[in-house]
């Protein structure tokens, strides 16, 4: 209920309040010595839960970006990225007529462009 309210889902929170929570609250009142005691306990319980939900949301808002950053550092970059696929497509590939001098041309071209 508290979480739904914090997310602005008021109607959904009301549904729970009027069904499951109402049933549980009725049973809890039956166990208390007085109505006022039961009200105080329920009020305190709801206040605690609202506080816990607020803390959890704040914690998640801080933690999730950190976790995302760490996870992306741990997971290796995809070996076949679009850039590498494009780069590999640009490579001359095997041509039976290519000789050693052609390979040397490739090497010298790489040295000139700093990609070798």
């Amino acid at each position: 209920m508290c979480f739904l309210r914090s997310e602005g889902l008021v109607l959904e929170a009301q549904v729970i309040e009027q069904t499951e929570f109402a049933d549980a609250a009725a049973k809890a009142r039956g166990a208390c010595e007085s109505e006022s005691d039961a009200d105080s306990i329920l009020k305190a319980l709801l206040a605690d839960e609202e506080g816990r939900v607020a803390d959890a949301i704040a914690f998640a808002e801080v933690l999730v970006p950190m976790l995302a950053k760490r996870l992306s550092a741990l997971v290796p970059a995809p070996r076949v990225s679009a850039a590498s696929v494009t780069a590999r497509e640009k490579k001359p590939g095997h041509d039976e007529n290519r000789g050693i001098a052609d390979f040397i041309d490739d090497m010298l071209a790489q040295e000139r462009t700093g990609t070798g």
């Binding site: 070996r79 076949v80 590498s84 590999r88 490579k91 001359p92 590939g93 095997h94 041509d95 039976e96 290519r98 000789g99 050693i100 001098a101 390979f103 040397i104 041309d105 490739d106 090497m107 010298l108 790489q110 990609t115 070798g116």
Partner: protein, 386 residues
């Protein structure tokens, strides 16, 4: 490249070389094709391989594997002790006279670290290739995968005035060229290693991996790991000192032990090795020591191997997995092919086949370099100014 041998000079003040025993002649006329000599050079941390031959031919006039070490004769050595009373020795000559010389290794982890010694070594290489001293020499030199500009500049400076032209090409690609059987390239059923393979060149200073798929490998297709034969030697040396304190074994001896007994995979025990310590023969059990040191190499290579496999296109990777080739001195480690293959299989790779380059493992880079030298066009060479 494998090994044998040099205690690296730790004194940073290297002895200055005495008179250079061989100096290339000054060129007075434009070089004619007749006096051009091509060299394919695998400049290894521990061993270098030089092949030489004329252009326009498949003849190989010189083929030598030389320990990459220069020995500067110490002061006060009595005449006649050193052959020809030479002031500088190279390769095996230097090692055989190690008591009378300061040994200097020109390279460390595959790149030049002692420029003066590197230059002397290159003069020696030139003399090996061209005893007459009259040839105009053009050299293709193998460099570690992704060697930086400073490493390349050091090579250029070391050969200035010695070679007239140079081309530097990454070693694993040269290994693929060298390994290729040119007579079978057009045969059906022959898998050209230059078309779709992954070479693992395990030398003394570096282990270089290279994806070779019909185009010149880019930086992303190559990985160079500064862990290879020398690093295994250091691990074994430290382990022996822990297991057998004060054993007195030199790094040279430890390297020899490694070369004779190296293996990867499950522990092989007992591995009894006979050594001489303090003049007395002893038998040391080295199964775990050798295995642990060598298995570290697998842990270094495997992630790089899977990284490159992952970068291959989906159309090519199944064939690629059939052409994983280990060369260099590390290919002599027993079981290295089966261990890597099993690890790939256990990790779910589709029918991988890892094989060893074979008995010419020391020469493939130089063979590829000489092929490249023969194929290079005139405008591809880098001219070195005197």
């Amino acid at each position: 490249m494998t090994t044998a041998s040099a205690e690296k000079q730790t004194n940073s003040a290297a002895p200055q070389p005495a008179a250079v025993p061989f100096a290339p002649p000054a060129r007075t006329t434009a070089p004619s094709k007749s006096n051009i000599l091509l060299i394919g050079l695998d400049l290894g941390t521990n061993k270098s391989c030089v092949l030489a031959g004329p252009p326009g031919s498949t003849d190989i006039t010189v083929s030598k594997v030389v320990p990459s070490v220069v020995g500067y004769v110490k002061d006060g050595i009595v005449d006649g002790i050193i052959t020809g009373n030479a002031k500088i020795l190279y390769g095996e000559d230097a090692l055989s006279q190690m008591l009378h010389v300061e040994l200097v290794a020109p390279l460390d982890e595959g790149i030049i670290s002692r420029p003066e010694a590197a230059r002397d070594f290159m003069l020696h290489i030139r003399q090996l290739a061209d005893p007459s001293g009259r040839a105009d020499i053009r050299a293709v030199v193998g460099v570690p995968a992704n060697a930086g500009e400073q490493a390349r500049e050091n090579i250029r400076r070391s050969v200035q005035g010695i070679f007239s032209r140079i081309l530097m090409i990454p070693e694993p690609f040269l290994a693929a060229l060298g390994y290729r059987d040119d007579s079978r390239v057009k045969q059906s059923g022959y898998v050209d290693p230059v078309v779709n393979s992954l070479f693992i060149d395990i030398g003394g200073g570096t282990s270089d991996l290279c994806l070779v798929q019909g185009y010149f490998p880019t930086r992303d297709d190559q990985i160079s790991i500064p862990f290879a034969g020398d690093a295994i030697d250091e691990l074994l040396f430290d382990e022996l000192n822990r297991t057998y304190p004060n054993n007195g074994l030199s790094r040279i001896t430890v390297r020899e032990i490694k070369e004779a007994n190296s293996y990867v995979g499950p522990s092989r025990k007992p591995l009894d090795v006979k050594v001489v310590i303090g003049g007395k023969s002893r038998t040391l059990e080295l199964g775990d020591s050798v295995g642990n040191a060598c298995n570290t190499l697998i842990d270094k290579i495997y992630p790089a191997l899977t990284t490159l496999i992952a970068s291959a296109s989906s159309d090519s990777v199944v064939t690629l997995l059939q052409n994983l080739i280990i060369t260099g001195g590390g290919s002599q480690i027993k079981g290295i092919d089966t261990v890597l293959q099993k690890r790939l299989t256990d990790d779910g790779y589709e029918n991988p086949k890892v094989r060893l380059a074979g008995q010419d493992f020391q020469r493939y880079v130089a063979i590829g370099a000489l092929k490249a030298a023969r194929a290079a066009r005139e405008n591809q060479w880098q001219v070195l100014l005197n």
